[in-house]
């Protein structure tokens, strides 16, 4: 029996476009469990339903059909909606549009303040959270003077300060440069190592390689679900829904065409180098 933090049962989410009679099914009957302390990457092209799924995970959107449980709370239960949102924090794509305050530390304090936590405890949490994302020295600065990567780190600190069990990252690196992307990915990995459950929605396959589990969404349904090796091992299937595969998988395919055998479980650059060095 899996010890799960998120449990989705037959989730359906529909929305109605203006003028159109028929509602659109953004999510079509998904059932899914996310294990405590795990790192799950969700991939899919735009419109595949992955962002809608993310917003269903902390009650920002409520199911049209089926149920979502977070940390044991039903997201549709109004009495526990704040418990749901406190348990499952969320970091969004645009680093600019999610910071509330014009001062870094005040922004990080925003969440804990909403939870009604004691001032001295908020202070401790804010300082700790800023340390966790290596932004301690910037606590008195104004966010608009920071780089995209730095702003996104502040946004993460703001969620961490609420002490969530799980953090959902909705394309956190899409608008960042390579340096910013690296910073954010290393912080996500650290948070995961500290025991926080991570759900990462991304377009970048090399980020998904770090996860324990990869889920590919297509047309509102789960198209593939498995370890990164299991999923990316089936390169052609991944590509059939217009996604990329990590470079090593692409190279493996090209090598196989040339008669070099490469096992499907090889999906990372380092593994590939090791494997080729052992190749006889």
């Amino acid at each position: 029996m899996m010890d799960s933090i998120i449990k989705i049962e037959n989730l359906i989410f529909e929305y109605r476009k203006e003028e159109e009679e028929q509602p659109v099914k953004a999510i079509n009957n998904i059932s899914l469990e996310v294990e405590k302390g795990s790192f799950t990457a969700i991939l899919g092209k735009n419109g595949s339903g992955k962002s809608t799924l993310a917003k269903n995970l902390n009650g920002l959107l409520l199911p049209t059909g089926g149920t979502v449980y977070v940390n044991g709370y039903n997201t549709a239960d109004e009495e526990h909606i704040w418990d749901v949102r406190q348990s499952a924090g969320m970091v969004f794509q645009n680093p600019d549009n999610q910071l509330v305050s014009a001062i870094v530390e005040d922004d990080v304090a925003f969440g804990p303040e909403n939870l009604g936590i004691e001032p001295a405890e908020i202070r401790r949490r804010v300082d700790k959270a800023l340390e966790d994302v290596n932004m301690g020295p910037f606590k008195g600065k104004s966010p608009h003077l920071l780089s995209g990567g730095q702003k996104q780190r502040i946004a993460i600190a703001g969620v961490v300060a609420m002490k969530p069990r799980c953090i959902i990252f909705d394309e956190p690196t899409a608008m960042l440069d390579p340096k910013g992307r690296k910073e954010i990915m290393s912080i996500i990995k650290e948070l995961h190592e500290e025991g926080i459950t991570v759900v990462l929605i991304t377009h970048f396959m090399d980020e998904a390689v770090n996860a324990d589990r990869v889920i590919i969404m297509h047309q509102g349904e789960i198209f593939m679900d498995g370890t990164p090796a299991e999923v990316f091992g089936q390169g052609e299937k991944v590509k059939s829904v217009n996604l990329d595969v990590p470079m090593a998988v692409e190279l493996a395919r090209a090598l196989r065409q040339r008669g070099i055998e490469v096992p499907e479980k090889i999906i990372g650059t380092e593994e590939m180098v090791e494997y080729l060095c052992q190749y006889k």
């Binding site: 014009a102 303040e113 909403n114 104004s142 609420m162």
Partner: protein, 266 residues
Amino acid sequence: MLRDITLGQYFPGSSPVHKLDPRLKIIATLLFIIELFIVDNFIGFLIAAIALGAVIALSKVPLSYILRGLKPILLILAFTFALNMFMVDGRILWQWKFLKITQEGLELAVFMAIRLILLIMGSSMLTLCTRPIALTDGIERLLSPFKRFGLPAHDIAMMMTIALRFIPTLLEEADKIMKAQQARGADFETGNLMQRAKSLIPILVPLFVSAFRIAQDLAMAMEARCYRGGENRTRMNEMKFKKSDYVAVTLLAVFGAVIIIQSKVF
């Protein structure tokens, strides 16, 4: 050009002025503004200027930074100056056709200009030396007695916080859009008033679209961080009157007394 606007911006620092209780600073600023409007002679302005100068020196905000904030209002300043200078009757100093400058007009023009400059500098000191959150907290507290009459004190304060946070973001956005449209050959500098107003559409439409997008994103982010209005909300920095605040209250009282006395004497 858009970068010059310092009104409403915070200048980070840890001076005694920065550390004062925001409620006190708001009241002091209001008193300062009232003072500017009841003063009817230059000595009153001198006292106000000295007081303001002392506050600026204490705050360690560079004077050049504050003066830069005056740039956007230069036009208004010049306009009121000219209006007063030419429109007031009195002893004629200089005349050309229908234009004349009178001594009274000149005095009034200088008088009004000083008032306007002190007004802008004084009120920008409030925002420069007060963290936006503290400022809005202060406003919320000061307004809270009116809550029982249905005034949404918390919501007003939160709106102000957000406005202050997003002023620079929207200015940057406007700058970007303007450049992008210029690259498509848009011309904002020539043409008559009508043409110029029309040439703003390619900037204003995308800017509104951006503003709505930001509002939508922000609302979602705030909800995700458990925002549910002012109820049960705590603050990281609680407002407490400290020793330095009592000193400031005393100084403020002295300043008020001096103003009243001088208006009686001169």
